[in-house]
């Protein structure tokens, strides 16, 4: 028995050795040389990650003497959880995770990455009766559907998200409330699979899922923009980075805005880079979708952003208005308490201090 037991344990020890060696081998975290300034940047598989990707591929960061430690997250929640454990300093994410990062972890919204109102949209099948009526409510001309055709329908959506915000705005525009329809919460990929399998009547998607939906022949019925709400993509700086070394954040933001300028200047060439970025993360979009990433999602250069952030004699800035409407929606849904909204609006988390340094 003695020999067999040692055989068993030596097998195990060998196993660990092999696995640990392989383990480190495959995730060689980039240990930057001490002297160089490193900034940890976090992004998602969205167009608002392109400026950073552009800066890295074109080597702008090395030119400016610092290195971007790029971190990729599938969606908002893991990105925020990583922020909570100080894994990154700056990053871009949707309005909702941005707001929660400010409320929970004291992060600052330092810029707008793009206006995602048009790409938080609702889709129906091509043969759906909802498409018959258009612009029933004069205030919202390009909104399909009417109270009768939408009442009692099942909507597949991701609750507590910008998509949900667009759905409620659409219902309000059609004179309906949440109780008139059946809302079913699903993550984006499940919602798409369910809609394709014939479940539900309307499905709420956001980029890049809505392009895939469009590819399947689904028709866009409404969007945040068409229902009159603005959904900004935000750029976040962690509390530590914003308060302790704003210069480093400013260095990165300068490159980010340079990227946005580049995207505004020649969308065609940027689309190719965007395709490379998506491919690296496994997403394959056709050219039409890539073009839409630029046409449907307006972006603002530094000057425009300063205007958006500017406070005209005490009145809240445009960005603050957008964010407070979103916060109101979350309070009305019971997701955050009014006190948390107050803290968010009063805490000066929406802050153009870095923008001014550029």
């Amino acid at each position: 028995m003695r020999s067999r037991r040692t055989a068993f344990w030596s097998l195990i020890i060998l196993f660990i050795g092999m696995v640990l060696v392989a383990g480190n081998g495959c995730n060689q975290s980039s240990t930057a040389p001490a002297k160089e300034v490193v900034i940890a940047v976090s992004h998602q598989p969205c167009v608002h990650a392109l400026p950073t990707y552009m800066a890295m591929t074109k080597g702008w960061d090395k030119a400016d003497g610092f290195k971007i430690d790029y971190q990729f997250y599938a969606s908002g929640p893991p990105q925020n959880e990583a922020l909570a454990s100080n894994k990154w300093e700056v990053g871009a994410e949707g309005a909702v995770p941005g707001m929660l990062a400010a409320i929970r972890y004291g992060a600052y919204i330092i810029a707008i990455s793009n206006d995602e109102s048009e790409t938080n949209d609702l889709w129906v099948r091509p043969n759906s009766p909802i498409l018959k009526a258009k612009g029933v409510n004069p205030k919202y001309p390009d909104l399909y559907g009417s109270a009768e055709t939408v009442k009692g329908k099942t909507i597949l959506l991701t609750t507590a998200s910008t998509g949900h915000y667009a759905v409620i705005a659409t219902l309000k525009a059609l004179g309906l409330s949440e109780q008139d329809v059946k809302l079913v919460h699903m993550e984006q990929s499940q919602a798409m699979a369910a809609f394709e399998a014939g479940q539900g009547d309307i499905v709420q998607l956001w980029a890049p899922f809505d392009y895939i939906g469009e590819g399947k022949g689904w028709k866009k019925m409404s969007s945040g923009k068409r229902a009159g709400v603005v959904v900004p993509g935000v750029v976040i700086a962690s509390k530590k980075a914003f308060e302790e070394n704003p210069e480093k954040v400013a260095k990165w933001l300068k490159l980010y805005m340079r990227g946005i300028g580049e995207m505004k200047a020649n969308p065609g060439e940027s689309a190719k880079l965007l395709n490379a970025y998506y491919k690296e993360h496994g997403l394959t979009l056709d050219d039409k979708a890539l073009a839409q990433e630029f046409s449907l999602r307006p972006i603002f250069d530094t000057k425009e952003q300063l205007a958006l952030f500017a406070k005209k004699d005490g009145a809240p800035s445009q960005v603050e208005k957008w964010m407070s409407d979103l916060a109101d929606f979350f309070v009305q849904q019971g997701r955050i308490t009014p006190a948390e909204k107050e803290k968010f609006m009063k805490g000066n988390f929406i802050n153009d201090k870095i923008l001014k340094m550029l």
């Binding site: 028995m1 067999r4 055989a7 068993f8 097998l11 195990i12 196993f15 660990i16 696995v19 640990l20 392989a22 383990g23 495959c26 995730n27 975290s29 971190q71 990729f72 997250y73 599938a74 929640p77 893991p78 959880e81 990583a82 909570a84 454990s85 894994k87 984006q188 990929s189 499940q190 798409m192 699979a193 394709e196 399998a197 899922f209 895939i212 399947k216 690296e280 993360h281 496994g282 997403l283 394959t284």
Partner: protein, 263 residues
């Protein structure tokens, strides 16, 4: 059952392979009826997708890179579960005081789904390899501890008497009688731990992975490409089953005295 693995009689393999082909034929038939439309890909589509993935890399690495990444996560979690789970289970089964202390906490954390651990995993371990291994570990840990525990509790009192008669003290009874007699249950626990660790690899790779079979499946979901999803599922199924056979072989080598009755 023992014949199936220990002696490779040609006849023994006819039925299992036949059943696999039967399954594929049934699958083709169901797709043929067409009432599931494009959402259920045909076996051919899945084969084509698999062939495509063999050559063209997805995300950062090729299919082999993905398989290797998932394999490393599952196996390192499995090994850590062995090193921590078996001693804990054995001690819990053997020492009343230790059991009274550890069991209530263990029983409470046992049913918590691994996915529920993702937020805490990210908060505590960040986003690279460690949280992923932690999630797989959570899956593998539970059955390993449970089986080691029951293995000890079922030690034959007659054997304990025999060892005490031969002059063994309490510690020797533990190492020389209780542990060997629990080996059978321990290996059953390892089988379960391995398959549960595989079941959690997808949840682990929801923590923001860039490579791995789970990542491929999630990608297939996001890109609404059912063929990739099913390829990922079959890959995990095949690799999981292959390692299970390897483990069973290791069990035969290490405990040759056992009468083969576990799956």
């Amino acid at each position: 059952m023992a014949e199936l693995t220990s002696r490779f009689r040609p006849k023994a393999h006819v039925l299992p392979i036949a059943s696999l082909f039967l399954m594929v034929a049934l699958w083709q038939l169901v797709v043929g009826t067409g009432n599931f439309g494009k959402a259920l890909p045909s076996p051919m589509a899945v084969a084509r997708q698999f062939w495509l993935m063999l050559f063209e890399p997805i995300g950062r690495t090729s299919l082999y890179g993905h398989i290797w990444a998932s394999l490393v996560r599952v196996l390192s979690a499995f090994v850590v579960a062995i090193i921590t789970g078996i001693p804990l289970g054995l001690l819990m089964g053997w020492n009343k005081k230790f059991e009274a202390m550890v069991k209530p906490i263990f029983e409470m954390f046992r049913p918590i789904p691994p996915i529920a651990w993702i937020p805490l995993a990210i908060l505590w371990f960040g986003i690279d390899e460690t949280p992923k291994i932690f999630i797989c570990f959570i899956g593998a840990f539970v059955p390993v501890v449970m089986n080691a525990y029951t293995g000890i509790r079922f030690t034959e009192p007659m054997l304990l008497d025999a060892a005490r008669m031969l002059g063994g003290n309490r510690r020797q009874l533990f190492t020389e009688v209780a542990i060997p007699s629990a080996m059978g249950a321990i290996f059953a626990g390892l089988q379960n731990g391995l398959s549960l660790s595989w079941m959690c690899v997808l949840a682990a790779e929801m923590v923001g992975a860039q490579e791995g079979i789970g990542y491929l499946i999630l990608l297939g979901m996001d890109m609404s490409n059912p063929a990739m999803i099913i390829t990922g599922m079959l890959l995990i199924g095949a690799i999981g089953a292959a390692i299970a056979v390897l483990l069973r072989y290791a069990e035969k080598r290490i405990c040759p005295w056992k009468r083969e009755i576990s799956m």
